[in-house]
Point group: C2
Chain length 587, copies 2
Amino acid sequence: MAEYKAPIQDMQFVLNDVFKADQLWASMPHTAEVTPDLVSAILEEGARLCENELFPINRSGDEEGCTWKDGAVTTPTGFKDAYKTYAESGWVGLGGDAEFGGQGMPKMLTVMFEEMVYAANTSFALYPVLSAGASLCLLRHASDELKQTYLPPLYEGRWSGSMCLTEPHCGTDLGIMKTKAVPNDDGSYAISGTKIFITGGEHDLTDNIIHLVLAKLPDAPAGSKGISLFVVPKFLVNDDGSVGERNALSCGSIEHKMGIKGSATCVMNFDGAQGWLVGDANKGLAAMFTMMNYERLSIGLQGVGLGEVSYQSAVAYAKDRIQSRAPGGAVQPDAAADPIIVHPDVRRMLLTQRAYNEGGRAFAAYVGMWLDIAKGHPDAAEREKAEGLVALLTPVAKAYFTDRGLDATILGQQVFGGHGYIREWGMEQFVRDARIAQIYEGTNGIQALDLAGRKVAANGGQWFEIFRTEIQTVIDELTDEQFAQPLRDALEKLSDATAFLLDAAAGDANAVGAASCDYLNLFGLTAYAMMWAKMAQATAGKDDDFHRAKRATASFFMQRLLPETTAYHAKVKAGSESLMAAPAELF
Amino acid sequence: MAEYKAPIQDMQFVLNDVFKADQLWASMPHTAEVTPDLVSAILEEGARLCENELFPINRSGDEEGCTWKDGAVTTPTGFKDAYKTYAESGWVGLGGDAEFGGQGMPKMLTVMFEEMVYAANTSFALYPVLSAGASLCLLRHASDELKQTYLPPLYEGRWSGSMCLTEPHCGTDLGIMKTKAVPNDDGSYAISGTKIFITGGEHDLTDNIIHLVLAKLPDAPAGSKGISLFVVPKFLVNDDGSVGERNALSCGSIEHKMGIKGSATCVMNFDGAQGWLVGDANKGLAAMFTMMNYERLSIGLQGVGLGEVSYQSAVAYAKDRIQSRAPGGAVQPDAAADPIIVHPDVRRMLLTQRAYNEGGRAFAAYVGMWLDIAKGHPDAAEREKAEGLVALLTPVAKAYFTDRGLDATILGQQVFGGHGYIREWGMEQFVRDARIAQIYEGTNGIQALDLAGRKVAANGGQWFEIFRTEIQTVIDELTDEQFAQPLRDALEKLSDATAFLLDAAAGDANAVGAASCDYLNLFGLTAYAMMWAKMAQATAGKDDDFHRAKRATASFFMQRLLPETTAYHAKVKAGSESLMAAPAELF
């Protein structure tokens, strides 16, 4: 059966030993009060919540799913109580701004907590995570009045948030959206249109649901430059902040999906609903990207978390299930057979999962670190560097975490053999739940285009150069050649592929798209190699089980996973011709 | 939405142009009457059946699933009627022995038909495919009396077959099974025990179900050398061949699974059920392997078929869905956007699917060809060579088809974006249905061990050398260096990896297991490269759309997929150390 304990020891190793987070936090005003003791307490309290409240309703939530009736959505049994506990303990506002009631914790810490929540119950996680993202968007772009109205109840978890972008005929290409916003006399707008695939668009967990809706003003320019962002509450808000009358919007139905069945995916109909402009007119897409970038890193963590719970469950099974003998002779001669963890190929699966999970966890902390630096480092140059790195690394985190997350859940399922395919064992749910993370918040193909196009080619590799220097610094500090050499090789391939990409993009409109997916994989592998090298270095001089296991996994990563760089490098350099040669009719 | 047309033109290209099947058939007595016209008629009739009868009940079958009540299993609406049509048209016995009422068609043809059936409706396919496998096992190993009793109704589809191996505590390791067979006075046996994961163990499609059951005789040696095979009918058979009284066996429940929901996966309880020995006592596992090897190639086709239906559906969507503009500028300037097939990364996904599907289809025909040669080639040396190749290539076909089949269905789902995750669009069902094929009939990890251990290392690479020579012959005949060079490179890597494996296996008990999965992938890629080179060669001088598309896909395969050989080669040569270094407690 599936089992989960939050990997607190590893999280603390990443924060304290790999990244010396305490020193960083102490050096920046906005995190000066974050102490290691506080972080420990938060991780331990979060682990208890995830293990005891959220994980036990994960399987049942999948079986029961959400139900829709007459516009109302009921979440699975237990979600409402668990959400109440979650909200009342202040978890929704963990990373929120202190001025409006948030707890102001650094991103390096909140990524750890979010990973746990996804691991324990991905469907559940989506409700508060969307609230956190919506809050961040309002904090950055909304007027003070809107912030005063919406942020405190969002941080408290009394209200929740949603992001309404997709329409039946447009997802990636939001420029052709049809939802309209017509000015009312009182400064508000009447929003009309249909949005689909709205996660948490309707549910029974909170008193109000705050929709962030993209729509077009009557005189808006065509395309993506004519999109504005509105805040549209399910219930209008009275002057005293209490919940007022129902707004003109409703949930028309919910989707029946492959997974995340406890998360309501809604068709939302806006019928002249009253909304308020957030930020500037026609600048809505950029504002929404504040939320989307937040969500992209968060959705990446869905991949890491599901990989982790799948790994833990698979290891337990592999130690327990006896079947056949070890290749070198019985290790349990008195039993009918040996536990399957003796088999090299079972270990290959487990170590692959582990290498992905722990590499992803460290990389999430790394991206979180640059987010924290971007937010409040005293040195403006550091902040600017951090902004560039965050922009560059966000699509990598989203896509690489979730691609490897799916791989990890598939491997965990495979370890269970036939039992992995049976619903009651829980392993197949992780696969189904992980699959959506490669699709939503911008498909991983879109992430790859964002990386190769906007984040690398469009600025001549300027941000890449910063990251390259960061990796080089790590290489220079490594004392063990068994980790330095493979990282050096990987960086050389990534640098060469980047140079090829920049060159090809100058002369071939299809070059970026042709390279994008393989380039992202090469990038992700190299980034994980950087993390594994740093982690291995951080184990120096320590020989307990935890640190020995860490070094063993680092060696495995370098020897058995990193060689994939050779294939991705070759694919990038194959160029666009074999993709574009055939006209569409030949497909 | 999902759509499917059987790829008859490609099937005929493979049979006629790539493998010159007509010449082979004409040269062997047992296939002398198989003419191209007959083959065309069978493929066309089969296509009609799959497209019109089986595909329309695929989605609904998934939603409805099988139901169990008081020991009886009801298949989804429409399955019973479709099965009646299927059986009455003689499809169950398509490859069956003519002496007992089968149609005696060559394996090269039946693999094409089976692929169609899996593509149209995998859940449905499993019922007749298991009957075909059970029939083959009885044909090879049962007494004349048992054959006379069981084969005609199995070929006619009036009765169906199942294979009962797995027990709650043993799957891979059948040596520790507990099911017992106690001799009765009349020469039959009383079978008692519980079998799980029995596909088609109970259902409402046929008048009788014939279970092939592995069990242990009272005096049986321990382990896998003490297993015997029994035929155990659901209803005992009267002397006149009619269905008699109920045997002492029952279906205790059915599993709730990730996919193949229209296929009943049963817990079967045998309570002193009357059964008859098939073949020699204690030689049951070898006899069952006749069925399992048949099923392994067949289950491979499940991967190819599901990849094909996913590809066809994804191409249709990619041509229809408009979203954003082509990188080089609008191709449909009058429309709001361009169809997504203009994007290089969408083409990468589609071409990858296509390269896997068509490569797999050709390789299935290739393995089928050697099965046909092994069965009845006039030259004993050819038959022996064929036996070796079939043994070598069967695990590759099973595992590589199904691993790439899952990849293909995931890519097809990805092309649909968010809609790919919604059940009604049908794309996610293909993923769920494909996933089991990597697990059952021996997990793909077991296939890889079978390949690297029994089929390569155990005979010093003798069968591999035959295959290597076959590839070399293809290389020597190629006229286009763009296909010859990559195939030569791949063969070199595979040969080097094989030499490494043979050498390592001599001194390290874990070497085979450590290399197995990556070795199989390297092997599969090289085999597909051989197929693609042969297919490209067969298009020479032809310039219609079909042949141009074939050449374009061949180029894509060589440039964008075959480079993965470099990674697998490196992983194989990394050896076992990084897998085995950590003791189990460190996991």
